[in-house]
Structures are given as structure tokens and as C-alpha cells.
Symmetry: C2
Subunit: 101 residues, 2 copies
């Protein structure tokens, strides 16, 4: 059941929304669409109830860095810090192995 | 803002619940309590709406392996496969770096 892959990377984004969510959903959808168009993007999964967890997958650390520095994404990050989130945390991880059912 | 740490590990557990959720919540709570008592456990975060994402953090791959093989956890995993989940995926990752707001 254990699979072996080319090394790839996961970005774990955990967040707590503030009470000001105006514009959040539109921007979140736009950022998801934009992320999918980036070089090195492999996939994305999200869930939210009390906190939000979004995990995106990438072929390389370079691809993650480029996405972080994308101009539209930078604007969204800024708006996230000033308005939409009480806090967020980002962890950049190398996927060592995986299995599934 | 970027922090440097001792290396540590994240287990990304994504899942889709089946329609049969009898006993699920009790077991999920029991497993969370049990995980917290394990050697090498660092923390856990969960969110669920369409899919569920639980990320747990550990000091070492050995700690992750021991938790995977814990007898009560093995029973819960079996019940998860036979009853509670349509699918699940587990990714074991090394946290390379992180930042927060």
C-alpha cells in the first residue's frame, strides 16, 4: 500500500478567520484558481469549521517560493493579515511517504 | 518571521466520511486523547466540512510509527476502513520551515 514517489512538498496553511469576512470568499476562490495555474502545482485540499486547514502540494521549494511571491497572491496575503485572519500559520514540508485506503 | 526549529514531522490525514458515522465521534475523541499521551506527540489540528483534514505533529518518524502501531489505534484504523471512511490518505512529512502571523 505504501507508494514511492518523486519527492514533493506540502504547504500546510492553518488559519483562524476574523469576523470581517467581506471579500474573503471571492479572493479565496481566485487564489485557488491562480494557484492551479502556477508551475509546479500538484493539488490542493481544504476544510474549515473552527479553524481552516488548506494543504497545497508542489513539485519543489522553488515553485512554493514563486507562488508566495506572486503579485496577486502578495496582495491577498496582505489583506489576509490586515482583515481576514486573526492568525495564520504556514508550514513547508517535504512529503517523505504516503499511503491510502 | 521565519523560525528555525529542530526537525519535526507532520502527518497529514485527509478523509471522506461514509454515511455510517455510528461510533465515529466517540472513537475520534478517544484517539485524540490517546495520541496526546504518546511519546513524541507535539500537537494536532483538525477541520472538516466536505472532507476532513487532521494534521498531527511528532518529534520523529519513530514516534509516528509507534502511534500507527498502537493496539487501540489499529482497531480504530480497521473500523475506519470497514465503516467510517469512503477513503483516506496519509502523508508523512518533514517540516522544513514555517512562519506565522
Amino acid at each position: 500500500m505504501t507508494k514511492t514517489h518523486q519527492p514533493y512538498y506540502a504547504v500546510i496553511f492553518t488559519s483562524k478567520q476574523s469576523k470581517n469576512t467581506i471579500g474573503y470568499n471571492d479572493t479565496a476562490k481566485a487564489m485557488e484558481q491562480l494557484a492551479k495555474q502556477q508551475n509546479g502545482f500538484l493539488g490542493m485540499e481544504s476544510a474549515r469549521n473552527d479553524i481552516g486547514i488548506t494543504v497545497s502540494y508542489w513539485t519543489s521549494l522553488k515553485a512554493i517560493k514563486q507562488w508566495k511571491q506572486h503579485s496577486e497572491h502578495l496582495l491577498a496575503q496582505q489583506k489576509g493579515r490586515t482583515t481576514w485572519y486573526d492568525w495564520y500559520r504556514v508550514k513547508i514540508c517535504k512529503v517523505e511517504r504516503e499511503y491510502e485506503f
